[in-house]
Symmetry: C2
Subunit: 114 residues, 2 copies
């Protein structure tokens, strides 16, 4: 089996449009059977009211630019995330995005894994 020696490279802040958009923009950076690394760019979006992510996999997520809030169903408050803030979300931990800054793009890096 030939092993690819290609080095894929880029900048996580590239093509982050300044304008608000209707939907979050998700870009896959690494995709493996048990691992997915993706960039998510939000600007003003949030999870729908009453909606909770309930994932079968673990997620480690970091905000690299902008700001957002995360909510966990079993926590009374909200977690504010600014640049550099990361959270490990175990599988089945119900969570939602409460808010993302409408004034600037928020760039998330998410690592999904089994």
């Amino acid at each position: 089996m030939a092993i690819s020696m290609t080095v894929r490279a880029g900048n996580i802040f590239a093509d982050v449009s300044a304008g608000s958009r209707a939907e979050e923009a998700v870009s896959e950076i690494v995709a493996r059977p048990r691992l997915r690394i993706e960039r998510i760019v939000s600007q003003g979006q949030a999870s729908p009211p009453g909606f909770w992510f309930d994932q079968a996999w673990n997620e480690w997520v970091i905000v690299l630019k902008g700001s957002a809030t995360l909510q966990f169903e079993d926590e009374p408050g909200t977690r504010a995330l600014d640049a550099g803030d990361y959270v490990f979300i175990p599988a089945r931990k119900r969570h939602r995005v409460g808010w993302t800054d409408p004034q600037q793009p928020t760039v998330w890096l998410a690592v999904h894994f089994e």
Copy 2:
């Protein structure tokens, strides 16, 4: 089996000392059998001359602050990495850190995986 529902959180830029240090500071953020996420803080360090990392696992690495250069044995030049620049390094791709900024901490986020 009890599943931990603890959310581990932090800031990737926390406790990044401004002073130069003798060695790189490596902090493990996520450690699983097939996945390791770590923060590396460099300030002026580089791989020893002639030394090449030759890893049995894949690595996806991003510079979040500062600047550095990476070299690959099969490439003539050097790759400059500034904030936001990322590189996927397949297993067995021989590489080394050519330089890290001696004037400021360089913060790397590395995801090692099978």
